[in-house]
Symmetry: C2
Subunit: 479 residues, 2 copies
């Protein structure tokens, strides 16, 4: 009762300091900000704060210092590791950037733009496409995620193998620091070697070192021709050999290279029963490949040439090239339907692993056999952006399992997988980040030297531990 009164008092003080328009006070209005993307977790906060510009973000930070509140910055709340979900409702606020969605400038001749953190990725991409420009970041959540969140989590997606992670698409940042000051690093220069590159600190820091309010992004010419094909292959090993061949054959113009097991079709059909399946569904494995081009280079010719070579060298058993955009969308619908199908099967283990590409096939075979052996009742599904050495190895408990049984199976599978990942010098978080979900794995993995560096950094940049405490490394970020 006393705690509740305290929270109410804090809310009122926030309204006094920031105005009614910025502060969402009603707990029932907090829900969309305090529930994670998968719907697995709900939380609460003292308030949700929705500033409209950089000055207001700075004012929010100062107000929170005054009231001794901690700040969890949030973009589209589409993260997969609970990085933007408050976990101490009585002393944290959610700072939502959703009202800062202005595109400040687009410079076609410079292939750059400056956008506010709350800009929705898909809206941004469409606005740029109208001008013949391309922002390569492409993710399932792009209709909801926001560019500030993409940068804070260094998002990946399907285009990484050609264009890089978000980090490589960022030219500059504007960041509100823990003391309320604004670091203006919003340059659009492509080359700038003026000392230590401070923006790198904030990319992938999940809001623990500063609050990103605007981003200068690097653009590319819009691809004019996109060719998509679904290929049946012998196994993951061959799929990786195909990728290596394709890199050389197509000068790295491959914009996506997604691996799927045969169960992809079953799972996709469970989510979308009418989904057409354009290829026999009993090959050992599948690859969804996309080649895009502009100007003098003909993506169609490239795709046909690549497949001809790959067939000759027995890297591909069968394949279908989409003959229309509608068919290309259907091929992608299998890849995306696969995710939905897994969700429909109830709580399961989702992982986001990378190992060196040269060892990926061996890794997946080994852990696959171990899981089959130890947990024969579960379905293990390995798929993903294998061109980057990145695989989502998910484990689905059987249909009849209770929630308790599911959690037990998930825990067991996770332990086995993490052990194997360690052994292969891989990463348990290739693209999703750490957040609050992977803190234990992170604690377990980091070396004493790595920990000391992180501690020193946090102390240096956010000495009061006010920004997203509990995220990444609780022992150093929570007060």
């Amino acid at each position: 009762m006393e705690a509740e009164a305290l929270v109410t008092s804090l809310r009122n003080q926030l309204v006094d300091l920031l105005g009614r328009d910025t502060v969402v006070t009603e707990p029932h209005d907090h829900e969309p900000y305090c529930r994670d993307w998968h719907g697995d977790m709900t939380s609460a906060a003292v308030a949700v704060l929705r500033p409209r510009d950089t000055g207001e973000v700075a004012a929010v930070v100062r107000a929170c210092r005054t009231l001794d509140l901690d700040i969890v910055a949030q973009g589209g709340n589409t993260g997969l590791v609970l990085g933007a979900l408050p976990d101490r409702p009585e002393r944290q606020v959610v700072l939502s950037l959703e009202r800062m969605r202005h595109i400040r400038s687009i410079d076609e001749d410079d292939f750059s733009a400056i956008v506010e953190a709350g800009c929705v990725l898909e809206e941004l991409k469409l606005r740029l496409e109208e001008r013949g420009l391309f922002f390569p970041l492409t993710l399932g959540a792009q209709g909801s995620c926001r560019i500030g969140g993409n940068v804070s989590t260094n998002a990946g997606g399907v285009n990484v193998l050609r264009y890089g992670m978000t980090r490589e698409l960022v030219l500059g940042l504007e960041v509100v620091l823990a003391d309320g000051s604004v670091w203006d690093g919003l340059s659009t220069l492509r080359k700038d070697n003026r000392g230590i590159d401070l923006k790198q600190l904030f990319i992938g820091a999940e809001g623990t070192l500063g609050i990103i309010t605007a981003v200068a992004i690097k653009l590319s010419p819009l691809p004019e021709r996109i060719e998509t094909a679904l290929l049946g292959v012998g196994d993951l090993h061959t799929a990786i050999a195909l990728y290596r061949h394709a890199r050389r054959a197509c000068c790295d113009l491959i914009s996506a290279f997604e691996f799927m097991p045969p169960s992809a079709f079953t799972l996709a059909r469970e989510a979308q029963p009418d989904l057409p399946l354009p290829i026999a569904t009993d090959y050992p494995a599948y690859v969804l490949i996309e080649i895009s081009s502009s100007g003098l280079i003909d993506a169609k010719q490239l795709m046909e040439g690549l497949l001809e070579q790959a067939m000759e060298e027995s890297l591909v058993l069968d394949g279908v090239i989409a003959t229309s955009q509608a068919q290309a969308r259907q091929l992608w619908a299998i890849r995306e339907g696969m995710n939905e199908g897994q969700a429909l099967r109830g709580p399961h283990l989702r992982t986001d692993i990378s190992v060196p590409l040269s060892r990926l096939a061996e890794f997946v075979a080994e852990i696959g056999a171990e899981l089959d052996d130890a947990l024969p009742q579960c379905l293990a599904v390995a798929y993903g952006h294998v061109g980057d050495g990145n695989v989502h190895l998910n484990v689905l408990p059987p249909a009849g399992a209770t929630l308790a049984e599911r959690h037990a199976l998930i825990g067991q599978a996770k332990k086995m997988i993490n052990f194997r990942v360690d052994h292969y010098h891989g990463s348990f978080s290739a693209e999703h980040g750490i957040g609050r979900l992977k803190r234990d794995e992170f604690e377990h993995w980091i070396s004493p030297v790595h920990r000391r560096l992180l501690e020193a950094l946090k102390r240096a940049i956010d000495p009061e531990y006010r920004l997203n405490p509990g995220c990444q490394l609780p022992s150093i970020t929570a007060r």
Copy 2:
């Protein structure tokens, strides 16, 4: 005399701690380590230390702590901003990585390698080429520079527009920290989002935060066909329009795009009187363009197609495509001879500027007119990697000028140029770094918030200010 005795005593103590083999004690043997690449500056040091492995580097750091000495790390000593040149001979040692030149591993299937910091860039490139692999970093100094220095300075070069700066070619690092501990971040993973990306701190820090001892690098397939052409164009504005067109037309397979003024030919001939000039030398401006490809893409067809379009659209006035590797080398010899020719004209102002590409032509025209107006006796030469918005705008005093007159003219030109660069939100160091040469510009440019962040970072990572004090920001790095 007393100071000399102290230095001798320190030298002897270093030998006691590290062994005779690691310590170069004789001052006359220090010279190659204590003179800058241009030969403009010479300095001295207590000793030059040449460890053979990471453990010995750590031992050097510990010994220097014991003796209260500061450490200037050095690779090939080819830097252009005095970043690796000691400036307090009585309390600094040079730590040369030159004996750590081992390639620890090459993984062809993973397109990655792990190499020690002292590996000479050209040797590394050749070793990789034998295996069909390509490390894209390409610089004038590649026969002498070393990979650790390339990473510490985030080196640029002619291939940046296709492959990025050195930062984008680094997958992992091994770093000896100021307390002698070793941070092992030597992963070859292409995607790894386990929290804050610590390696970014050390890239471009010029040895002020740690000593890089090994690097995991990202490789590409070796280009199989390289086409080179020299084009006459109307002006810089048209050259930039040509680059924009070429990006789309060739899907960013342009591996070099160098701009040169007509004086390039005069200067190159001064250095190499027999250099053949394959094109009329009186066009207003020139572009040296290179397109490289492998597999199914024919660089020759691309180059011919691009030039045909560019002629039609009047972006190019004249052009010659090299018909042999020997001819391609001759075209590059003009670009390189131009540098030598400038050196032969005696001390002059060298700059390394970037501005947003959309404003580069305007910037060069404006500052060009200002310089012609204020310093008509000097020759201003603008050339460089303009595809990245990067231009070297050098100012050459007249032949008869005394050294004092030269210094006065250089100072005046530098002031004018920096003022204009500021005005265009450009960078006074697009690729060369800060070192000791550009400290004043850096001091002048950084905002109070930027300075506070740098100070906090330095204090956090090198609390005794032992690593390369005097480099970048003396006020925060010198004790």
